[in-house]
C-alpha cells in the first residue's frame, strides 16, 4: 500500500464538519466539510475571498464558527481557548508572517516550545534543577530545528532585520518547535521567487516525510499545490466546489469556471 492509501484506511486526523462562519450579513463559509488523514499534504485552493483564510482562522481558533464542528482526533476543538490549541498538536504560519519582531531568531523558535514544556514563575526564577534539565532539552531541540531549516547562521539576529524569505523559515521553525501533528501553512509561497518556491515545495515534503507531520496548505501558487499535494479541496464563495486528487480538481469544470469564468457569464 502507498502512504496515501494507508492514510485513507484510518480515521481522519482532522475533520471539518459543516462549518459556517457569518460576519454580519456576509456568509464567509457555508457548510464546508472535508477530512484530513495522517501523513497527507492537503491543498486548499480557491480565488480571493473564497474563505480559505477564514477556515484557517477557525482551525487556529481565531474565529468561532456559527455552526458546525471541527474535530481533532475525534474530539471537538471549538471549546478550547486559542492558547490551548498548540498543545493538541495544531501549529500554523501566517501569510504576512506573525513573528515576534524584536526577539532574536533563537528566542522566536524557543518560545515555540512553550506548549510542550511546563514550569511556574517561582521554579523559573529560582532555576530549580528540573527547570534547568527541561531547558537543556529545549535547547537541544531548538538547535536541531535551526540546523534542519538552515537558520544557524542567523540564530542570534533580531527577526525584524531579516529578509522576508528567511522570516518565513523562522516562522516555520517556530511552528515545528511545538511538535505539531498538523501544520497549517497560509500561503507559504507568497512573496517568494521561482527558485525559492521550488525549494519550499521540497522542504514541505521533507517535513511530512521526516517528521510525520500532516500538512494543510493554503496556496495561490497552483504549480506548488499541484506538485506536492496528495489531495485538493477547492472553495469558492464560502462553499466547497470540488475535492479529489490534484488531477481531478484541475479537470473539474466548476473549478475552471471559478478561476477563468465561462462563456455565458
Amino acid at each position: 500500500m502507498t502512504q496515501a492509501q494507508l492514510a485513507r484506511s484510518s480515521d481522519p486526523l482532522l475533520a471539518v464538519r459543516d462549518v459556517n462562519v457569518v460576519f454580519g450579513g456576509i456568509v464567509a463559509l457555508a457548510g464546508v466539510s472535508f477530512d484530513m488523514h495522517q501523513g497527507q499534504i492537503l491543498g486548499l485552493i480557491g480565488p480571493n475571498g473564497a474563505g480559505k483564510t477564514t477556515l484557517f482562522n477557525c482551525l487556529s481558533r481565531l474565529y468561532q464558527p456559527s455552526a458546525g464542528d471541527i474535530l481533532m482526533e475525534g474530539r471537538s476543538i471549538l471549546s478550547r481557548p486559542p492558547h490551548r490549541i498548540a498543545e493538541i498538536g495544531i501549529g500554523r504560519t501566517f501569510q504576512n508572517v506573525a513573528l515576534f519582531p524584536n526577539l532574536s531568531v533563537l528566542d522566536n523558535v524557543r518560545v515555540g516550545t512553550h506548549a510542550r514544556t511546563s514550569s511556574d514563575i517561582i521554579s523559573d526564577s529560582l532555576r530549580l534543577a528540573w527547570v534547568r534539565r527541561s531547558e537543556s532539552a529545549v535547547n537541544t531541540k531548538v538547535q536541531e530545528i535551526l540546523a534542519y531549516l538552515d537558520l544557524e547562521s542567523v540564530a542570534h539576529r533580531t527577526v525584524s532585520g531579516l529578509p522576508f524569505g528567511t522570516q518565513k523559515r523562522v516562522e516555520l521553525a517556530r511552528a515545528l518547535a511545538a511538535d505539531p501533528k498538523i501544520l497549517l501553512l497560509d500561503e507559504p509561497a507568497g512573496g517568494l521567487n521561482h527558485e525559492e518556491v521550488y525549494v519550499l515545495g521540497d522542504l514541505i515534503r521533507r517535513i511530512r516525510d521526516d517528521r510525520k507531520i500532516t500538512v494543510l496548505l493554503v496556496e495561490h501558487h497552483m504549480g506548488l499545490v499541484m506538485s506536492i499535494a496528495d489531495h485538493v479541496v477547492a472553495l469558492n464563495f464560502g462553499r466547497k466546489l470540488a475535492e479529489g486528487t490534484p488531477a481531478q480538481v484541475q479537470a473539474d469544470p466548476d473549478v475552471i469556471k471559478a478561476y477563468l469564468g465561462s462563456k455565458d457569464q
Partner: protein, 292 residues
C-alpha cells in the same frame, strides 16, 4: 568639583528610585498599552504595609520580603478584579479606572494609617559610605539594591521560559496565544511584578521623603519622566532614563540659579514635554508603525 561629584552621586541614588518606578510603569505599559497612574499609590500602600509589619515586630528584611510577596499578589488581584474586565473598554474608561484606583488606595491608606508624617527606618544607616563625604550608606544601599534588582530582572526575562513568554506576549499577543501562551495570565504576572518593583522603590525612598499617603506623587512624576525619556517600549531605556533624570534634577537644582527645591518638579514636567515634542519614542523606544 567635590560639589559636582557629590550632586552626581546623589542624583544616581535618587535616580535608582526613579529607575524602579519607570521600570514598573514600562512593565504595565508593555502589557496593556496604558500608563498606570496608580503605580505610585500602590507603592505607597506597600510601604505602609512594610512599616506596619515592622511596628508589629517583624525585622526589616523580613518585612521587606513579606511586602514584596504582598505587593506581587496585590498587583495580580488588582489586574484580575479591576482591569481584566476593562481590557476591551475604551481608553477613557481605563483612565477613569486608574484614577479611581489612585484615590481609593490613597484614601484607604489615609484611613488606616492617617495622614501624619512618619519616620521610616533604613537598614543601611545614614553614616558616610566608606568614610567618604560624597555619599551616605543609605544612598549606596539604594543604588546597590536597584542594581541587584535590574540584574535579576534581566536574567529572568532573558533566560527563563516564563520571561520569554512574557516578552512574546507583549510583542505580538495573537502569535503568543498560538504557541500556547496564556497571554491573559502574562498580563496579570506583569502587574504583580510591577507592583513588587514599585514597592521596592517605595521602601527605599521612604527614609528620604518620609512615610505619608502622598509621598509617591513627585516620585511617580519623575518615574514617568524617566520612562518617557528612555522610551516607553524599552525597559533598558526606562532604567537609564531614571538615572539620567536623577542626575539632571540634582545638577539643575544646584547650578541653575533660582531653581530651588520648589522648581524641581516643573523641571521633570518640562522634560516630559520636551521629549514628547522632540523625540516621542524616547531615547531607546521603538517607533510603532501601524498598518492602515
Amino acid at each position: 568639583m567635590e560639589l559636582f561629584t557629590n550632586q552626581v552621586l546623589a542624583g544616581i541614588a535618587t535616580g535608582a528610585i526613579y529607575a524602579c518606578m519607570a521600570l514598573a510603569v514600562v512593565m504595565i505599559y508593555q502589557a496593556i498599552d496604558h500608563l498606570n497612574f496608580a503605580q505610585g499609590e500602590m507603592a505607597m500602600f506597600s510601604t505602609f504595609v512594610s512599616w506596619q509589619l515592622m511596628q508589629w515586630g517583624v525585622p526589616y528584611w523580613g518585612a521587606f520580603v513579606l511586602t514584596l510577596a504582598f505587593s506581587f499578589a496585590g498587583g495580580i488581584v488588582i489586574e484580575r478584579v479591576l482591569f481584566k474586565p476593562l481590557a476591551k473598554a475604551p481608553i477613557l474608561t481605563q483612565v477613569a479606572g486608574f484614577i479611581a484606583l489612585f484615590s481609593i488606595i490613597n484614601s484607604c491608606a489615609g484611613l488606616i494609617w492617617d495622614f501624619t508624617i512618619k519616620q521610616y527606618p533604613t537598614p543601611f544607616g545614614s553614616t558616610p559610605f566608606l568614610g567618604s563625604q560624597l555619599i551616605s550608606t543609605h544612598q549606596a544601599g539604594m543604588i546597590g539594591i536597584t542594581v541587584l534588582l535590574l540584574i535579576g530582572l534581566y536574567v529572568f526575562f532573558q533566560y527563563t521560559r516564563i520571561g520569554l513568554a512574557m516578552r512574546a506576549a507583549a510583542s505580538v499577543p495573537e502569535s503568543a496565544r498560538l504557541v500556547g501562551i496564556n497571554t491573559s495570565w502574562m498580563i496579570a504576572l506583569g502587574w504583580g511584578m510591577a507592583a513588587a518593583i514599585g514597592s521596592i522603590a517605595g521602601m527605599l525612598i521612604a527614609p528620604v521623603v518620609f512615610l505619608e499617603p502622598n509621598m509617591m506623587g513627585g516620585v511617580l512624576i519623575y518615574g514617568f519622566a524617566a520612562a518617557v525619556l528612555g522610551g516607553l517600549t524599552s525597559p533598558f531605556g526606562a532604567v537609564l532614563g531614571g538615572f539620567l533624570v536623577g542626575i539632571f534634577e540634582n545638577l539643575a537644582g544646584t547650578y541653575i540659579p533660582h531653581v530651588g527645591n520648589e522648581m524641581k518638579l516643573p523641571i521633570a514636567l518640562a522634560l516630559i514635554i520636551t521629549v514628547l515634542v522632540v523625540k516621542p519614542a524616547g531615547l531607546f523606544g521603538r517607533n510603532i508603525v501601524k498598518r492602515v
